[in-house]
């Protein structure tokens, strides 16, 4: 056996997914919670859109733009939250020492968290997309290939942020917990979820265009309003995501090293 730490075992990834799955199914309120907030959000924005569209030419022509934005925002937000909550479970359970002392590699740990982020997302979002059809006649699935491109880009961003937050938690302990819950809200105004980038002050538009989700939300508006799928926007988003994801992994490994130096992996050490 080599000592690079670069070997990757699907078996160990499966072990971690199994651990989180056991946890998820052990509590029905946890399962319900996955569906509850996305449903409430979708209903609130859906009814708001229904009201506004009766009084605005723009929204009358842009059917579903609010609900679409809400559903895509939830992929971004809940993708990161699903990743971070699974990681936080280890800290809440004081299980991190057991994992860090086991043969589990960082890449395997991160892979398991990414898989669980998708599992939690699917449990939460699929019922809500069908409720959107029932209540508002908005069919997210009708976006077809565009939805696949939107999903890939949003989930990559959510994982990158989740990985960075996990590094902060390793390095700073539970003092960084609030970051897990709030960091994505910084993206809410900057990535122009509910309005076009052109609304922002000129200088802030540069910041906005450096964030991959901005391309997705602009792409969604182009699809719903102009009925055009902007492949160029999706490719640009993907390029930014590759850089963001690479940076997050680098930061995670540096923060893990720092946690070993600071002794923060062993809570309660004397």
């Amino acid at each position: 056996m080599t000592d690079t730490g670069l070997e990757f075992s699907l078996n160990r990834v499966a072990a971690m997914v199994r651990r989180y799955w056991y946890l998820l199914i052990s509590s029905w309120p946890r399962l319900l919670d996955l569906v509850y907030w996305p449903t409430v959000q979708m209903l609130m924005w859906g009814f708001l859109q229904a009201y506004v569209s009766q009084n605005s030419g723009y929204f009358a022509n842009a059917a579903g733009v609010f609900i679409g934005a809400v559903l895509l925002w939830d992929i971004l937000f809940r993708g990161q939250l699903g990743f971070s909550i699974s990681f936080l479970e280890e800290m809440w359970a004081r299980n991190l020492g057991n994992l860090m002392m086991s043969p589990l590699r960082p890449a395997e740990f991160i892979s398991a968290l990414m898989i669980m982020s998708i599992v939690r997302l699917l449990i939460g979002m699929i019922p809500v997309t069908f409720l959107a059809i029932v209540f508002f006649g908005f069919n997210l699935w009708s976006m077809g290939l565009a939805l696949v491109a939107f999903f890939i880009n949003l989930i990559l961003t959510s994982w990158a942020i989740g990985i960075f937050v996990a590094g902060l938690l390793l390095r700073n302990g539970m003092g960084a917990e609030s970051m897990a819950w709030t960091i994505m809200f910084l993206f809410l105004p900057l990535t122009c979820v509910y309005y076009p980038v052109a609304v922002l002050p000129h200088w802030l538009q540069y910041v906005s265009w450096s964030l991959p989700p901005t391309y997705v939300f602009e792409g969604m508006r182009a699809l719903l309003i102009d009925h055009v799928f902007r492949v160029d926007l999706m490719l640009e988003a993907f390029a930014f995501n590759v850089v963001l994801f690479g940076g997050a992994v680098f930061a995670f490994l540096k923060l893990l090293d720092s946690a070993r130096t600071q002794g923060s992996l062993l809570q309660g050490a004397d």
Partner: protein, 251 residues
């Protein structure tokens, strides 16, 4: 000619400094394979930090730690599958049942015949009736036994134990000690045991390292320590060292 086996654990001039404190201050020792060594010291003596550096969880400020020939933490993935540990500073996920917890760790350590191994440990550590109970619903003593079962899942060559019988009743504690003795005899594992229970150390350990303020204050067999300090029990020796009486007593 006798060839001395390579040490299972080799600690050389190990130092760990945090911002304002020195937790471990230049300690050195080597543990021969198949031995059981007790690590004694009061709270804040540096035992847990030392064990954490041996496990690769904490990076030393200076000095080196080698486990089964691998430098820690740099080469930890060479040997982590041959090590395990039990500590009161870590827990098992509370919502998972004992069986689920042990299954996950068995898979992480690639334990063959996972179900058989878990059943066997459950019998040995008297856990059978708790296997399908959530870990959070167990008593402190039962949790300690589960944690011990986790530490033995992969039949480790190096076993690090931090207070393994804390919060166990005397009967169960005795049972656990017997199990550890049998495990060592059967597998030839090297065990490093941090404990405040002097009876346990006297019974299990052929060597005792006493730490104080991050340094090794004494290091010998229990019999020689008792003789050197002219004491009847290791507890008296420990108190002599803790209260700074070792120089006048031991000379």
């Amino acid at each position: 000619m006798d060839v001395k086996p390579a040490p299972a654990i080799a600690v050389d001039n190990l130092v760990k400094r945090y911002k304002t404190a020195t937790a471990v201050d230049g300690i050195s020792f080597q543990l021969a394979p198949g031995t059981v060594t007790g690590l004694l010291g009061g709270n804040g003596a540096g035992k847990t930090t030392t064990i954490a550096m041996i496990m690769g969880l904490v990076t030393p400020t200076a000095g080196t730690v080698a486990v089964l020939g691998a430098q820690m933490p740099k080469q930890r993935y060479r040997v982590l599958h041959r090590m395990n540990f039990e500590s009161p500073y870590v827990d098992m996920p509370m919502r998972l049942t004992v069986r689920q917890n042990l299954s996950v760790f068995a898979q992480l350590y690639a334990v063959p015949d996972e179900a058989v191994r878990i059943a066997s440990l459950a019998v040995d550590l008297d856990l059978t009736e708790f296997l399908d109970r959530p870990a959070g619903k167990l008593s402190a003593g039962q949790k300690t036994r589960v944690s011990l079962a986790k530490s033995l899942l992969n039949k480790p060559d190096v076993l690090l134990l931090d207070e393994p019988t804390a919060s166990l009743d005397p009967d169960t504690a005795d049972w656990v000690r017997t199990h550890l003795e049998r495990y060592r005899a059967e597998t030839g594992a090297t065990i490093l045991l941090a404990s405040h229970n002097m009876n346990e150390v006297e019974r299990l350990c052929e060597r005792v390292i006493i730490m104080k303020k991050g340094r090794v204050e004494d290091d010998d067999t229990p019999a020689r320590l008792l003789a050197r300090y002219s004491r009847e029990t290791l507890e008296e020796v420990f108190l002599d060292v803790a209260r700074g009486r070792q120089r006048e007593v031991a000379g």
